[in-house]
Symmetry: C2
Subunit: 192 residues, 2 copies
Amino acid sequence: MGRPKQFDPDIAIDQAMELFWRKGYAATTPQELTEALGVGKGSLYNAFGSKRALFELALRRYRDSQSPALAEILHGPGTVKDRLRQALHFLVDLDLADPDRRGCMVVNTATELAGSDETATELVRQVFNQTEDAFRGLIEEGMRSGEISSDRDPLAVGSLLLNTTIGLRVIGRVTEGPDRMVRVVDAIIDAL
Amino acid sequence: MGRPKQFDPDIAIDQAMELFWRKGYAATTPQELTEALGVGKGSLYNAFGSKRALFELALRRYRDSQSPALAEILHGPGTVKDRLRQALHFLVDLDLADPDRRGCMVVNTATELAGSDETATELVRQVFNQTEDAFRGLIEEGMRSGEISSDRDPLAVGSLLLNTTIGLRVIGRVTEGPDRMVRVVDAIIDAL
DNA sequence: CAGATTTTGTACCTGTAAGTCAAAAATTCA
DNA sequence: TGAATTTTTGACTTACAGGTACAAAATCTG
């Protein structure tokens, strides 16, 4: 009961996510948030409590909305190397297609808030763990099928692939064209 | 002529670098800067003009003070692969030895200021270019000596190594122990 | 309808960001 | 010594960050 909300908190979190993703945590102001969400300050603080709490909701939303795409490619059809290449190219295209070049919100959060926000840092770790695990699983599949040499440690290769995606998403923020990112993808696939 | 400065701007820039490195640009306040540099606000603004101008001096200082170490390893003694391994392990140790886990200031700047500070972004690009180039040079050396297979594109491998270092320095910010980073180094060296 | 509950809008608050300014202090030069 | 120049100190300023308070409004329940 009580007066019903005039806005959809779910949509508001999406909009907050877009803003935090583009500007980072510290550089995003409550005023910008109210403007982006189209909701007054009172409602915003009543609904979410604090800027930091809203940020964490936004970061979780980012993870939940963005993670599946990569996983789908990795579990999709094609050879293991094909799927790997597809997955990495997907990230390249994603980064370059974004006019704001926001990169990956998880990576951005890692470099902005590690050391000052343990909750956010833990969320970053969790996404990194999941991604590494997904890559490791795929590498193991490739080893079983004989497509990938079995004399490597699948976990280590998984770590390397996770590391590669992180690097790509940083480079995507500052690079002019696709050339360097494509070279990275070609080289890593070639090296497996 | 005129009254002599009571502080050494060179040292002040070093101290500003430490602070910006740890906290990033947006989260560092003039007050913290005056405390860290031990100089009044008037002097600070008289000497450096603005927070942003000081940041750019600090970022250049970072580049100038940190870049040589990696380059020295790459141009040092040992086989190419040895030097590569040394260089990457050097970064791992560097990141893990820092109690604040500040990572790399250039990478941090890439994710914080790309899109809002073109000067800083250009500096990031320049460091990335230099690093890629150094790796490419080393790979070419390894190809000439026969240590590295010549059927790869040295520039692409250079890009991959640059990308690897960037990823490592992000992971170094959030990781608990050395395990994952060591796996990355082992896997990339193994993959060459 | 009265009452309880929740949301909304707006005004308000405290603190601080980022910077400016004027006057005093410390130097060099004529 | 006096004039010129530059730095320092610290008070001052504008604007906004981040959040609170409260009354009015909108619902549900009995």
